[in-house]
Symmetry: C2
Subunit: 576 residues, 2 copies
């Protein structure tokens, strides 16, 4: 594809998506750098373009249109002070709550801050007076960039209309030559259509009807529940699952895994069995309904990513659209309970249960292999598996990021105790985890178990100081493999030269000393054989304790990989 | 004073100072909230005001004036989108490097973000397109606010002219009624006159001549050197001191205290003797010449603060004007060496040495008391004093904030070893000090001694991990008084109810465990008697070691206060 084709596709995809978002009017001020936007907006049969030379007047003119129509009006200008002339109307739109969508053209990155003509710093140009700012990618042929463009268009248009309505600013860097190809509009240029239902509290009836129709028509649907500690939401989702008949892939942080023994639509072994090609091929859904944050499981994301034909709904409220795969087709801006209550009256029972039965059978095969692994092996997985079985029922478990949360994702099956799992998955850091667990313990007043790696433990060791001041029952279980275990699973681990220095970072710390420093009861478990008894010994202990379990990083990788093979074989047996 | 008088004084002081800063022209757009600025600018005989209704045009008009004159031109407008209309010209001024001084009127704080008319968020309104933004205080009668106003005016005018020239934005909240008193201009309204010499590399000759004239005429001058690790600067300042004959008050972080045995103009006991009223009364200078950052010594600042009749020069380069006392009369924007080289050719030897001799005698009396205290007492001061005597000559000492740096300020006299002292005085935090010391040790490759309190040690204990990876010679000396010792000197310490919980924060940590965790050689010194031998035992040790010295917080306060009394009596003897 040549430069002109790439430019045209990029801008066209953007404009098509604006139209899906309700845009019908654009106010354009003349300029060179904005040529691609100006030409293609003017060229599109569904956009009504007005030209207004003075950008200050143009912006107030668009403001008037948007005020009167209640729809987002697009503003287009070139780079430089042209954009600064929009400022008075942008400020007015911010305080008067008027949906303006400001599109400024900009120099490409190599011409910024080098004294190029009409090149000013346009990032966050309008400061706090717009609801959202995004600097767009340079035009590229890649599907990832086209998805970014359409998603941003959909989100920007939607954002102007969200309460309180207001202005949004997108900045477009363009390289010369700037002329696009005209007269070739077709819906094919748009790689996906994104619907956006403004739920606020109540899902509009029209949306409930069309969405539930789709749920009734489709037999191959799955529900995914990511990290979510809203118990009412979890309950509603279970109701929705029963009504639709779809299996529910429950993230360990969804608080749904403690229902595993009671709810047979829940699937917990997906992280293990979706690593296999057979399962991925035979279990492809036509509809994905996703709640909560991004799931922990990487195999699940790799399963979803290539499913470009499927409808993918995200039911969420918040500022970011949580879709790093760019695979969502319908953003449904709604709280979980009102979404479910909106659809429930229209849902019909599925006659054919084959689809869901396949998921259940595959899941059963996977978790049997996992159970056997826990009994027979000696790696961190077996350690975590035995530990999860040995914890008291209904305990709170705080799980560190990196390997612990991944191992809990795999090994927290229905053979474990029912547990409430917590972790910091907003930004997935290894920092502050000890203090978070202390905070959860002080707030719940229940005994809390913290499962954490040695690096993460080291990072927030200072957090233990408050355990002297505020009495809690916290049992810290450090899986000590002397370093950053997760990196051993990465391709970087094949480069031995700098690996230990930069990634392994073995702290070589003896946590006995840390325990003494803070007067914690301490036990060391040298191998998997001691795990069950060691954990059970904690059940009646008070205060903050530390249990160190020694494991081996290299061994761990090998044995984990053997498990994936066994699961794959068992699943293929079920599916054939 | 009534509202109108306060308002008038405040705005008049601002305008007078603008005139001192070279402002002669203002472009005003009509509006109500900006009435005080508009009326008083128009009223002033030395300001030429132009009225231009459209703020966008007004700003470009002022831009033209400033381009042609090379002097800052003032812009005045009311609150709301009026200010946003300046944006295009502000952006142009930023990139074209034109000195514009934008003054926007604003609602007072209680009318912000509550939907008041024409009230928008004007803080940082022009983002990165101005060189400096400041939100002004509401008009008040207090001298502190008037000093803030005049200093900000001087700095804003100067800032527009500093290379690269460009726009500056000040935002003025005003309460109604908005009319000032007219027709009463007099220079008395200006509490101080601030000169600003734009040094860049070379101090202009005219400045060198007028400044050196003052140095020659005044006999009662002092030089203060704050934290400054620029050795060429320190050397130049010593040359300047010899030529002017003024005593040099050398902060422990100036790197000048290691010259104490060689340079008899250096004064190190001021932190002790300036606590006494006699010394403060008899040693009042007429000229203060200050280099480097803010000195550590609080008694020194309390000595300077009321000297409103003295000339106070600050020779500094940087973004902030380091003058929290608002006592500087002349900001001299110059690098130290070029300042000294500019003045040296014009300086004449002083005939009468009485003034400097008084300083030396008082200093001698104080440091004798300090030496006696070090020999006889058992408090942290004696600990620090003995320690500073026991360190190898020319070592690097990194000093923690809070009490350690203050004790070093007092007890690092000519009886101690010559030492290079380091500390983090940019923001004076107790965090990251261990890591800073490790960084200094790895960079200098010399043995480094770290003198640190227990809270600060705790805060960066994790920093010790790298000591396993990168071999350095660092001897950590923890003064452990179990908590935040400095707070015991504050008035809050008289409120026993919550004091220990909120300020004392005794960590009750046994650092033996921390030393074991990181495999450090460790020794504990139980009292002052063990200090000298303990420190000497470190001289030949390699690697990272930890020495813990136990002290007592309450006892410490009492004994410190006794020392101040003894110094005061000895100094009064000398001065009478």
């Amino acid at each position: 594809m040549n430069h002109q084709e790439i430019l045209t596709n990029y801008v066209s995809a953007f404009i098509q998506q604006l139209i899906n978002g309700g845009v019908t009017k654009a106010v354009i001020s003349p300029g060179s750098r904005s040529t691609p936007l100006a030409y293609l907006l003017e060229d599109h049969p569904l956009i009504d373009c007005h030209v207004n030379v003075d950008e200050r007047s143009a912006a107030f003119y668009a403001l008037g249109m948007a005020k009167a129509s209640g729809r987002p009006v697009v503003l287009v200008c070139t780079s430089g002070t042209a954009a600064a002339n929009y400022f008075p109307a942008v400020v007015e739109a911010h305080y008067a709550r008027v949906p303006l969508l400001v599109l400024t053209a900009d120099r490409p990155h190599e011409l910024r801050e080098v004294g190029a003509p009409q090149a000013i710093d346009q990032l966050h140009l309008f400061g706090r007076h717009v609801k959202w700012f995004a600097d767009m990618a340079l035009p590229e042929e890649s599907p990832a960039v086209l998805k970014h463009v359409t998603r941003t268009a959909a989100r920007a248009a939607a954002k102007t209309l969200e309460a309180p309505m207001g202005p949004v600013h997108l900045n477009f860097p363009f390289r010369e030559p700037l002329s696009p190809i005209l007269g070739q509009w077709s819906m094919d240029a748009v790689p996906q259509t994104i619907s956006h239902f403004k739920g606020n509290k109540e899902l509009p009836d029209s949306a409930a009807v069309s969405l539930s129709k789709k749920v009734n028509e489709i037999s191959r649907g799955i529900i995914i529940v990511g990290p979510m500690s809203n118990d009412r939401g979890n309950e509603a989702i279970l109701k929705f699952a029963k009504a639709s008949g779809f299996p529910v892939l429950a993230d360990p942080l969804s608080h749904l895994r403690k229902e595993l023994s009671k709810e047979d639509l829940l699937i917990e072994g997906y992280d293990a069995f979706l690593k296999g090609e057979d399962a991925k091929a035979k279990l492809q859904p036509d509809l994905i309904i996703r709640f909560g944050g991004m799931p922990v499981s990487k195999p699940l994301l790799q399963f979803l990513s290539p499913l470009t034909e499927a409808s993918h709904w995200l039911i969420d409220q918040g500022t970011d659209w949580r879709d790093p795969l760019s695979s969502v087709t319908d953003y449904i801006d709604s709280e979980e309970v009102s979404f479910v209550e909106g659809l429930l009256p229209f849902l019909k029972e599925k006659e054919n249960q084959d689809w869901t039965e396949s998921w259940k059978r595959v899941n059963q095969a996977a978790i049997e292999q996992i159970a056997q692994h826990i009994q027979e092996e000696k790696d961190e997985g077996a350690v975590v598996g035995q530990l999860l079985q040995a914890l008291p029922e209904n305990s709170h478990v705080v799980v560190g990021n990196s390997m612990p949360i991944r191992d809990v994702d795999t090994f927290l099956t229905r053979s474990a105790s029912p547990l409430t799992v917590w972790a910091n998955r907003g930004a997935n850091g290894i920092d502050g985890v000890v203090s978070t667990a202390l905070g959860i313990a002080v707030e719940t007043k229940d005994p809390v178990y913290l499962l954490i790696g040695d690096l993460s433990m080291f990072h927030d060791m200072n957090g233990l100081l408050v355990s002297k001041q505020y009495p809690v029952n916290l049992h810290i279980i450090v899986i000590n493999n002397n370093g950053g275990g997760i990196f051993s699973f990465l391709p970087q681990a094949q480069e031995p030269k700098h690996f230990e220095t930069l990634f392994g970072t073995p702290p070589a710390l003896d946590f006995t000393h840390a325990a003494k420093l803070y007067s914690l009861d301490y036990q060391k478990i040298e191998s998997v054989e001691g795990v069950t008894a060691g954990i059970q010994s904690l059940h009646d202990q008070q205060g903050v304790t530390m249990t160190e379990i020694l494991t081996n990083r290299e061994e761990n990788v090998r044995v984990h990989r053997e498990l994936w093979k066994k699961v794959q074989n068992a699943v293929s047996g079920v599916l054939s």
